[in-house]
Point group: C3
Chain length 474, copies 3
């Protein structure tokens, strides 16, 4: 039987114009095999701690944990239950993984021309060696093939880490995390470089559900009985030191808005006490987060951890889905964001200090040229993160460089990060970035904006050097 | 005498790169002759009700009713009076249509590279068979040619409807409209498929001038004496049923902002009573509209009418022009718009219901990638309308796909609608869309993002299938 | 010794696709040698007043006065002191110009692909005849070459003015300026056409530091003792008349927001009196500026001076830098801007008057398509200025036309202005505009949107005619 085949062009994502394509290919070839630097992501460290870890079924690996995949299916009326997404109340969901896979294949046309579609094609072909396009007809055949792969030792996470040529990979971990998996990895003697990242949102944003429980946990893990704001700060500093000891080079912070403000110690203490009593207001929460972001910048100057700031997502917009399935269900929607006024306090206090590396990510592309590039193009401490989430895509990357480069240049940006839970998609994501960046540089070469010598150096920096230096690896 | 000629390239609007152009042409040829689906527009149903209807003079057909045309002339200092636009006070305006036409021709250079320029060129050549470019020199010659055409039976609206290969065309009609012209069309036995759309803005937005008179009219046509909010809702439901009976498959709603909020019945009643007394405040109006948009979504779930929502125009920005000439005079200016927070109430209540099709149009392209694509890419009920008004243009369409597609995919969008009063421009508008879409798909093909098989199916959906299915025709 | 060379392609900034490139080149060649119209800029008139004026050292000419250059170096951690930027307190800064130049050359890679990089390359090659790329190795060699040039009479400003083929150049001057340099230029008999522009921000924005001193100076230069709002208005009108007499054809106004509002005479007087006493509030300042912008439009209608309005910069965002070095230090950051509501008062009062030319510049590209093009495409008085500051760049220009043209057309825009302090960079800036515009028009030609005849006329208008007519020169 003959089914339609994937057709991964060796020149994919390059401009069709032959002169530009030639230069793009040349640049791409010069960087395609550089090791992968993965300075920000959400892979579970457990997958490396257990050397026999398996990804389970194709459905378990590729559909159930990937909200990029199931939100698109949901948008077209397919219930999450039918996709096997577990309900919080333990209610019934589809458990037949082949049936879920078939449903996915029946609707795979929804992903045409989307990043998910492109990553999956690349993953199928290059990780699993599959030749046929995923359709209703080929669904079970492909399921068989992936299932067979996943039973081989070559498809254990550690083996893939090596095959993918990863140089370093960081995870994202709560401030209260004991980093046990990271400890097991280190103790195992495996040479893979897996590092934690300090993400204290759960203890910093006082309006997070379960904040008080998190603070109790922070007391426990730090051994500091957090009864005051200053003990709270001490505990955070102590956790940062622990993360650093465990290999962390960075922290990460999320907020709905970029607002920063320095509270007096008395104000901070009184908001903190209200929060402990469950009496904090919405405005308290807003100001406390604004203040803590500044505190985190101060600590970064002191301990040298690079600071990442992810801004502008309205989390769990769909209450029904949140109540039934929880968070991270594809219902986080970007918000309009403002940086010029909101970062004024932080940048004025810490932005001139070259010891700080403050990397900003945003979901509002309108701020790229208007606010972020001018800020990053002025303050020594500030850098601009790569296009994030919805913008981690071909067009998202093209717009990013188009809007950012002329003001901020290349060297106020920090290369790529894959920001993914989906470990097997990592090479596809970096490859896409490298191709799009090569094509961007080639576009400037053929337009006489830069010469080939400059382009070559910029390509290596974009693919490898910028991320490695910005995150202070090695 | 030899004048410069129009030069309508068969490859117009395609990328010049030969490989992409070849694919674009192939895709375009596969869809160029598909029937036109016109699910949203402003053609007067009268033109089809009267089988001998004539468009009048070239000036009456192409200049006087078209605010796209006369606003550009006005922006360069030509008074609307000189263009024959009727004044509200009946004051003198130019009545010599040849003189107006000459003025238009003298300034036709203003439209170079604009959608209006491109549509008109296509209309002149393909509808009226004119060869010469419109200039000061050719003005009267071309006037003669169009005038001669308009006297032929082949240029009656019904004949053009057939020549244009229209499969279905909808009009936009007030809730209080008796749909008399639609009734006449149906009774005439003509096979053209002309359908009304239910647009209740005049009775829903309580700050519309003349709102109370409109509510009286609504009482009359519905036979329900509207003395309370609940009778008002009943009357609206009854009108929707009547529109549906007359062939409507959709409703349409306009608002300055996308704000939605559900009022309690008591609040709704008390605002409604204040409005009846002419005592409603600005905030009452804002909240009442926000509430009624939600009510309309509820009704759509119940009666199956597709719901369109057009957001973000500051109507009649120029008071002088409004006072002298009325509304729709080219002085409606877009406003910055927010959807993530504003649609929260509506989408949380109705967005998970697949019986609802809620199509959003906006005039703030910044929301495409940031808000609309993520919302449409999650909620089963929501779809994104095509680029609207100022963005119904080559670059507007390119930006739309560039910004929307990677997150929402093709299938959370609804194809094209021409949204025009200018019936003879309809083929030009659809043709432009089909060309630009073919070129967009070709761009993805030659970049290896999609293959030709996928592109072919997407082209047909974009040109025909998406609109037909979204609007529930046939 | 052989160093890498600059490679200024004769086809630079053109699309690589051969058909488009050919048309772009043809259009560019037809306009490349047109005289330069420089209707808005910041060149110091002193450089023309003194016929022996020299630009000093290469460092003095190219680095110390150019915040585009030093802000990028600062963003990467190089202190401004090390670049010889004078401190307000007279504290020590680097004085060895060769050492500064070396530091600049060592970091010249930061400017790859930026407008500054492109302008400087063009300036080095075409103004100074330098062949080698600027690198650590060639730094001193190139310093020598530029230094040698600057000692030649051919590199005096007046000689360069002629060599650059400038037809008219305007400066920007405070309302209180005596225009002494302009007077000297006129009296010198030199035929260069250097004109002042009336920029009254210092006396109009009552929250400007030193406002009262500026008003005293205004009293002095006008001979009107400004004790009341109406005398203040008289003094401003008198200064405008003086500027006009001295050759000015335009005024210029800067504001953080585009807000306009007409105050009653009593309100204006009472805010003015509070300001004289140093008691004006922030809101007073906001409303007074809003009102004065409207007053300036009124005066423009009366005296015929073209009105420029530059909106949306958060000046001196970095307090440390402001305190140490003053303003214009590369720390001005754009703000989100709104025009539809904010210009409502001004445009309703004066926007229908064709005697007024009101040219708007902004730093928020989101408003191009959404607000500015629709406003300029309707109101007879309004025009849209070219891409400003961060957007005076290849991509900035491409986005500008992409977003503006389809709604506003070419003739509601006003061509180019270089807006620069850096006199020797003027030809590079105009050349870049002419190339990018030629390429834009060529793109429309090869896509069949306009024909070659139209493109040729549009090219001349873009490069020369629009600016000359909009600013009422000659």
């Amino acid at each position: 039987m003959s089914y339609p085949k994937w057709n991964l062009s060796p020149d994919r994502f390059f401009d069709p114009e032959p002169a530009q394509r030639k230069v793009a290919r040349e640049l791409y070839e010069s960087i395609a095999d550089l090791p992968l630097i993965c300075p920000h992501g959400h892979v579970d460290p457990r997958v490396f701690a257990d050397e026999d870890y398996s990804f389970g079924s194709p459905t378990q690996m590729l559909i159930i944990p990937d909200h990029y995949v199931f939100r698109m299916l949901y948008s077209q009326g397919i219930p999450l239950e039918a996709l096997g997404i577990p309900r919080r109340d333990g209610g019934p969901v589809e458990t037949d993984h082949r049936k879920i896979w078939q449903l996915f294949a029946d609707h795979f046309y929804l992903f045409r021309g989307t990043p998910t579609g492109v990553w999956l094609a690349s993953e199928f072909v290059e990780v699993f060696g599959i030749e046929e396009k995923l359709t209703s007809e080929t669904a079970q055949l492909i399921y068989d093939q992936i299932e067979a792969c996943l039973q081989q030792p070559e498809f254990r996470p550690r083996a893939l880490y090596e095959r993918f040529n990863i140089e370093v990979l960081t995870t994202t971990d709560a401030a209260t995390d004991t980093l046990e998996h990271h400890r097991r990895i280190r103790e195992s003697g495996w040479h893979g470089d897996i590092r934690p990242t300090f993400r204290p949102d759960g203890v910093v944003n006082i309006d997070t559900p379960g904040w008080r429980e998190e603070v109790c946990r922070l007391s426990e893990v730090s051994g500091i009985d957090i009864t005051s704001y200053s003990l709270y700060i001490q505990a955070l500093e102590q956790r940062r030191a622990f993360f650093k000891e465990m290999g962390a080079t960075a922290t990460d912070h999320a907020a709905e808005s970029a607002y920063t403000e320095e509270l007096s110690p008395a104000e901070a203490e009184s908001i903190f006490q209200r929060a402990l009593k469950g009496q904090a207001t919405r405005d308290d929460a807003r100001r406390f987060t604004a203040h803590m972001i500044m505190e985190m910048a101060r600590m970064s100057i002191e301990d040298g951890l690079v600071m990442q700031f992810h801004v502008g997502s309205f989390r769990s917009h769909n209450r029904l889905i949140y109540e039934r399935f929880g968070k991270d269900m594809g219902a986080d929607i970007p918000l309009e964001t403002e940086f010029t006024r909101n970062l004024h306090a932080l940048l004025n206090k810490y932005g001139n200090d070259p010891r700080l590396t403050f990397i900003v990510f945003c979901l509002d592309e309108d701020t790229y040229a208007r606010e972020l590039a001018p800020l990053a193009g002025h303050y020594p401490a500030m850098r601009l993160g790569p296009p994030w989430w919805f913008y981690d895509s071909i067009n998202g990357m093209i717009r990013y460089r188009d809007l950012v480069h002329e003001t901020a240049g290349l060297y106020n940006t920090v290369g790529f990060n894959d920001d993914t839970r989906a470990f097997p998609s990592i090479p596809a994501r970096h490859d896409l970035w490298r191709r799009v960046e090569s094509n961007w540089l080639a576009g400037m070469v053929v337009r006489g904006i830069i010469d080939m010598q400059d382009a070559r150096e910029m390509a290596v920096d974009s693919a490898y050097g910028l991320a490695k230096r910005a995150y202070r690896f090695g």
